[in-house]
């Protein structure tokens, strides 16, 4: 039972943290809960489809369909996160700070919400499909122990939801003004980490057969499969044995989003009068 609990928890934790961050980012924005809920729902449906067609997906596109699918949806999530950050910097500075000032921004705000809903859906779909396959394996294997394993899986799922809640409540205790700076930075690191994962899938597919040497190996000090390593993996993209390409992609995305967020932020006459420090986090 403990084994099943750990496996499911390990898969769910990544999606849980991302959902927690998105909920905190969109706190107080009208319609945000519906959007996040739809994102989770779409992710679960997508996870079921990906799991159900895992065999066909693996065989498609000359046998690298699974890798390219993962790389593509991760890249999509990176684009959505980057777009959200830049959009928030240019239009929506006040969204996170004071929801009552929204006014006409609500309509355009929905587009940014949709971007984050896609990120939630991608996260849930990726992790959820692995959980679905694991559970399917448990059920297919049958035997007297499967009830026990399913109970463990349910507890693992509950623990993942708990992490999501901890992330959310941890973030929303931050004052509204600082929350914007913190979440801008969090989303930037999140995007860079997801981009590095996408780079790995492109390499695994054989379409980026360069810079594939291992940049460093810190698995002896902090394994990215340990609980803390896993959390760091999700939050800032920590990897204990990344390829050089992954490191390059990570740094480029980090620099690009920070630069663009900074460049699009209104300066001087910002009506909300918030400190420019919010850009740097």
């Amino acid at each position: 039972m403990l084994g099943a609990l750990i496996i499911v928890f390990r898969e769910v934790i990544e999606a849980g943290i991302i959902v927690g961050i998105v909920l905190a980012v969109t706190k107080g924005v009208p319609g945000s809960r519906l959007m996040a809920g739809l994102g989770v729902l779409a992710g679960i449906v997508g996870a079921g489809l990906v799991a159900g067609f895992a065999g066909a997906l693996a065989e498609s596109l000359n046998g690298v369909g699974q890798e390219l699918f993962n790389a593509s949806i991760l890249s999509l999530a990176v684009c959505m996160l980057a777009w959200h950050n830049i959009w928030m910097a240019s239009h929506g500075r006040q969204l996170a700070g004071d929801a009552r000032k929204l006014g006409q921004e609500v309509r355009t705000g929905a587009r940014s919400l949709a971007a984050l809903a896609i990120v939630v859906a991608v996260a849930v779909m990726r992790e959820g499909s692995e959980v679905a396959l694991f559970l399917y394996g448990l059920v297919a294997a049958g035997g007297t122990s499967s009830d026990d394993l399913l109970l463990g899986s349910a507890l693992g799922l509950a623990a993942g939801v708990f992490v999501s809640a901890v992330t959310y409540f941890g973030l929303v205790t931050i004052s509204a003004r600082r929350l914007f700076a913190v979440t801008t930075a969090l989303i930037t690191f999140l995007a860079a980490g997801l981009g590095a994962q996408a780079a790995n899938f492109f390499q695994q597919a054989g379409v980026a057969p360069f810079l594939s040497d291992t940049a460093w190996d810190t698995s002896a000090y902090l394994s990215d499969t340990s609980l803390f390593g896993r959390v760091l993996h999700t939050l800032v993209g920590y990897s204990d044995q990344p390829s050089v390409l992954q490191v390059v992609v990570y740094v480029v995305i980090l620099a690009a989003i920070f630069t663009l967020t900074w460049a699009f932020a209104p300066r001087g006459g910002a009506p909300s009068g918030q400190a420019p420090a919010a850009q740097n986090g």
Binding site: L61, A114, Q203, Q204, A205, V207
Partner: protein, 113 residues
Amino acid sequence: MNRAPVLPLLALATALAAAAPALADDAATVQITLKDHKFDPAESTVPAGKPIVIQLANQDATPAEFESKELRVEKVVAGGGAITVKVRALKPGRYRFFDDYHEATTEGFLVAQ
């Protein structure tokens, strides 16, 4: 605007997929079978410095996730299914892989020399 990146990404993925097989021509191929949650052979020798293609046949009814930190590989194989896994050219050494759903008991190694 937020939906714009989807199509170019798919186009890119498709173009890259078309280019993929040409790169695998000089690769060394290893065949591994998964049965009763055991890899057979549990250890394979491969040439160092050459890309490797692992052909994994899952003869169990349950799905597995072929994974390796050292090889930087992560791929689901359906019950009764088969997958092809591409691995970069390796430095000499012993590389561990496992089924992520049964990591404690289902492991194997590639020895590059």
